[in-house]
Symmetry: C2
Subunit: 323 residues, 2 copies
């Protein structure tokens, strides 16, 4: 039985949608606990009352300090205190990171926590890390991100000896910026299964099991993938519905389009792991639907079952020493 703290007040769609997602995920093995304002309808799920909401545009560190009883901070604290096994929030990502650092703290040896996003690429699942926790990173951070991504790939995605690639602007080792040129050397010298650079076009293609990058580039790349998929499918729909033959064709390909969405939508896993903390936190998209929330809760539960935090704690400091 895994207890997942769910921040009901985070996200753009309101608490009712989050609670609906939690209900969808609730099972014999998954027990969602709702963190939200008094009186919130939870349809039988446990409610832990919180006070205050951290808005999407609030400054993370300030917000976390000034609102210790908010749903976001309280749900993270529950993991630190052991009254929940993991936390899921669709709220302010920066605040989640700040709350994680304050309440859960880092695994010894971890320099910076990072966001690992499972990407359902063409060749199967892969991990993009860091997807946005560290806008500016140093080469040695990237090596740690890669190690955390490898643990994620092994434990959660079930990939043995995962291949790591560095997101850059060319496959040759001399292509890149200062950060990636130095990180490339460190990665090549590490005990990771490092296979060299990858490019933006490899992300959805699934060139590597773990794609490592700084949080700025990773965030831009991830949102570019998401945006391109949305714009492309919407534009295709427009073109298809412009003619009668197209409309008929559109009806006939609808199941195929639906399968495709399931196969490649970066949202399919519902959330991303905040890795490197002494507790498991999953960050869901701000505009998560109930299904996305349910997926995020299942993703968190899988992380608890596979003891991702324990695996990181065992393997990170050892690896860090080799750098």
């Amino acid at each position: 039985m895994v207890r997942i703290a769910v921040d009901a007040m985070g996200g753009d769609r309101g608490p009712a949608e989050i609670v609906a997602g939690a209900l969808e995920a609730a099972s014999d093995t998954i027990v969602p606990i709702i963190f939200g304002e008094a009186g919130l309808e939870t349809h039988g799920l446990e409610l832990r009352e919180t006070r205050g909401v951290i808005a999407m545009d609030e400054k993370p560190a300030e917000a976390v300090r000034s609102k210790p009883d908010s749903s976001l901070v309280a749900s993270v604290r529950a993991v630190a205190e052991g009254t929940a096994d993991a936390v899921v929030s669709a709220g302010n990502t920066g605040a989640m990171l700040a709350a994680g650092l304050i309440e859960l703290r880092r695994i010894p040896g971890v320099m910076r926590p990072a966001i690992g996003v499972p990407i359902p690429s063409k060749r199967g699942p892969s991990v993009l890390i860091d997807a946005g926790a560290n806008s500016d990173a140093r080469p040695e951070h990237l090596v740690q991100f890669a190690t955390m991504g490898a643990v994620f790939a092994e434990e959660i995605l079930g990939i043995a000896n995962p291949e790591v690639r560095l997101l850059s602007i060319g496959e040759e080792r001399e292509k890149g910026n200062q950060l990636t040129l130095e990180a490339h050397e460190l990665l090549a010298a590490s005990d990771l299964n490092f296979a060299g650079n990858a490019e933006g076009r490899d992300i959805l293609e699934g060139a590597a099991d773990v794609l490592v990058t700084d949080g700025f580039t990773g965030n831009v790349a991830l949102k570019t993938v998401e945006g391109t998929i949305l714009t492309l499918l919407e534009a295709l729909r427009e073109e298809i519905t412009a003619t009668t033959a197209g409309k008929l064709g559109g009806l006939l390909i609808r199941p195929a389009a639906r399968r495709l969405r399931r196969r490649l939508d970066p949202d399919a896993h519902g959330g991303a792991y905040l890795l490197g903390l002494r507790g498991l936190a999953v960050i869901a998209h701000g505009n998560s639907s109930r299904t996305a929330i349910a997926n995020a809760i299942r993703l968190a539960a899988r992380g608890v079952e596979h003891d991702v935090v324990g695996a990181l704690a065992t393997r990170l400091p050892q690896r860090a020493e080799t750098v």
Copy 2:
């Protein structure tokens, strides 16, 4: 009449494909001049004989210095010497940049040339700059890139008072890395029509007329857009052809898919401008088809007709002073 120097030896598909593209672009107003090895079949187009080829993986500066008579360097030099009005190459991008710096030199006041790529976004054409010339850039470089992009948008895309946005990881001004945070302040204080940050998901959506970024991020983002489009359309084709109904539907939507490709394919313009030099250079994709080469030649001709270099020379130093 515009004379375009065409590097026939650059690109992955061989000289015959490049020459075919040049033939396709040749018209009453466009005169392609082929730069290639002796004996190359040019089907009546002027051939200027060159010696040596710069390979895609050669180190740019060394290659340009050691092969001054190669097709790439000779075609760039033709613009410097006034025997051609612009140059198009599908060869080594770094070598084009190096040859441009050596043979054409920078427009006075320009700190760094940048690659401006026209993106056929949903709301119409826009420019992404820098798409890869400068892997590491400083905030003041980004302001110049933005200015060059704005000139490009005005002169080539016909957009009056183009809106500039900074590619970052959130719309709020405090979201970003050190580079974009500082660039944001400089852009806000400039006389550009600056509208704040954009995100990766806005690239294909066309959030801005000019999207400014450093060359590393821009290159990753551009290749991510291209790769996502390719992977998505290929995966859609696979799903569609998996069932009989899907196959029939696929036939019916084929014209729509073709219209979509024309509308959103970043390759549609055939090439990117290398901006900031005292002569016009267009860089085509390494794997350019004849049609892409023809489009790149037309793009170069349009730049000559609109005197993009003259417009940059007039407006850049003035703008640079305001920074």
